[in-house]
Symmetry: C2
Subunit: 253 residues, 2 copies
C-alpha cells in the first residue's frame, strides 16, 4: 500500500534498486546526462542515502555511472576498449603508442620486481613512469622497470632523469629485439599517487596489468600498469570495438 509491493524473496534493497536504476538508465537517460542528486533520489525511492549510495556504487563499478564530488552523477559512456596485448599499442617505445613518458629515474625496485628481473635486490634499475590517455581521458598509469643490462647502449650523457631520459630508455629497450610478452590481470585499488594521476579517489578500483617483456630468453623489462576499472575494457588480440557485457542481465535465455 505504500510505494509498490513487498517482495516475498528478501532481495536486498540496494540490489533491487540497482536493477531498477539500471533499467532506467537504459530507457530514460542519455550518455552524459546528469542524474538527480543522491538526497533526492533516496527520498524518491524511500530509502536512506547510504542504501541508495550502495546501489550507485555498484553501477559505478559496472561502468554505468560516473560520480564526481562537487559536481554530480552522470551516465557514463560505454567502456573504451584499450589494447593491451598487441605490439603496436602496448610495447614499450613503439612509434604510435598511446603512452606518454612522464619521468625516469634510477633506483632499486621493490624486492618482488627484482626477483622477476633476476637482478640483485639492491641493484638499481631504470624506472620509467608513463601515463596512457585515451579519448582525452587518463586511463592508465604505469611503472616500467628496465635493468641497465637491457639497454647497454644507453648513453650516460643526457640528464639522468626526466621525460627525455625516459624516452631514451624506451628507445634503447626497443632496439633490443623484444620477443614476446606475458601478462597477468588482477583487480586492485588505486594508491594515492595512481589515484591522482587517474583523476580518481584513493581506493578506486583498477585493473592491474603486470607484463613481462622477454628478449633472448630472459626478462628484459617488467611493467606494472594500473588501468581505471570503471572506464576501461582491456583487449587482448584484436578484440577492438566489440561491446557485449552490459550488466549481469546480459545472459537472458
Amino acid at each position: 500500500m505504500g510505494t509498490t509491493q513487498l517482495e516475498s524473496v528478501p532481495e536486498p534493497k540496494y540490489w533491487h534498486l540497482r536493477t531498477v536504476l539500471s533499467e532506467a538508465l537504459d530507457s530514460e537517460f542519455e550518455v552524459g546526462e546528469i542524474l538527480p542528486n543522491e538526497r533526492d533520489l533516496a527520498a524518491r525511492f524511500g530509502v536512506a542515502r547510504a542504501t541508495l549510495r550502495q546501489a550507485l556504487e555498484q553501477l559505478e563499478l559496472e561502468g554505468r555511472l560516473q560520480r564526481r564530488r562537487g559536481v554530480g552523477t552522470t551516465v557514463a559512456p560505454p567502456r573504451v576498449g584499450v589494447a593491451v596485448g598487441t605490439r603496436e599499442h602496448a610495447w614499450p617505445g613503439a612509434a604510435d603508442d598511446a603512452w606518454q613518458a612522464a619521468d625516469c629515474h634510477l633506483a632499486a625496485p621493490p624486492a618482488a620486481v627484482a626477483d622477476v628481473l633476476e637482478t640483485d635486490r639492491d641493484e638499481p634499475v631504470h624506472t620509467v613512469r608513463r601515463s596512457r590517455v585515451s579519448h582525452g581521458q587518463p586511463v592508465a598509469a604505469e611503472l616500467l622497470y628496465v635493468p641497465p643490462s637491457s639497454v647497454p647502449d644507453l648513453t650516460a650523457i643526457d640528464a639522468p632523469s626526466g621525460p627525455a631520459r625516459a624516452r631514451a630508455v624506451l628507445r634503447e629497450l626497443q632496439r633490443g629485439d623484444l620477443e614476446r610478452q606475458e601478462s597477468a590481470v588482477e583487480l586492485g585499488s588505486a594508491g594515492a599517487d595512481d589515484a591522482k594521476e587517474l583523476d580518481r579517489l584513493p581506493g578506486a578500483p583498477v585493473l592491474v596489468v603486470t607484463t613481462r617483456y622477454l628478449a633472448e630468453g630472459r626478462t628484459a623489462a617488467l611493467s606494472v600498469a594500473t588501468y581505471r576499472a570503471d572506464t576501461c575494457r582491456l583487449t587482448f588480440g584484436d578484440f577492438g570495438d566489440v561491446e557485449i557485457h552490459h550488466g549481469p542481465e546480459t545472459r537472458a535465455s
Copy 2:
C-alpha cells in the same frame, strides 16, 4: 588529545585503517587465520563499525581477506594464477582443461551475442554452461555460445540438453580447427546466478572475460566467463607463478 595524534593531511579514516590492517596482515597473521570480529575490531580502533567495514571491503577487493557470513573474516591466500590465453587451458574442449561442462541447451542468445556471432537475433545457438574449479574452489562461471553452423556434424540423437550434450558440442567445436582467439577483460559484478555458482553474494566483483573464437576467418563461438575477482589473477601467455602485485604500496622507490 584523545587517542593518538591528529593528521594534518585529512586522509580518510577508512583508508588509514586499510593501511594499518594491511601491514598487520603482513607481519602478524598467517594465511587462513581468523581475524577478530568486526565489532571488536571497530572498538579497538575507535571507529564505527561501518568505517571498519569500509577498510575490510578494500582489503577483500584486493584479495587480502576473505569474509563469510556467519563464520568470520580470514586472511586470504595469494591469488591463484588462472591461465586464460593458452590453448591448453582455455580452449573449449581441450583435453586437460579445468572446465566442467554443466549443461547445454539450444536457445536464442542475447542480441549483442547474436551480433558478434553474425547470426540472426532469433536464431537459436547451443548455449553451454561450464564452471571452472581451481585448487578445489570454484573460480569461474561461463556461458559459451556456439552457432549450429560451427558444429555441423553434431548428431541430434543424444539428449537435447544436459552435461553429455554439452561435452558433445565442445568435442565437435574442437574438431573445427579453431585458429585463434581474441579476449577482452573488464570489471563487473556477479548476478544472482553467477554469485551462487561462485559461492559469493550478488554484486561480488568479477572479472568478465569475453572471448571470441575464430575459425576460417569467422567467429566460431563466443564465451562470456566471469572470474572471481577476489581470488583470481588472470594470466595471458605463460605468466604462471609470478607474484608481484601486493597492494598499492608495491611501488616503493
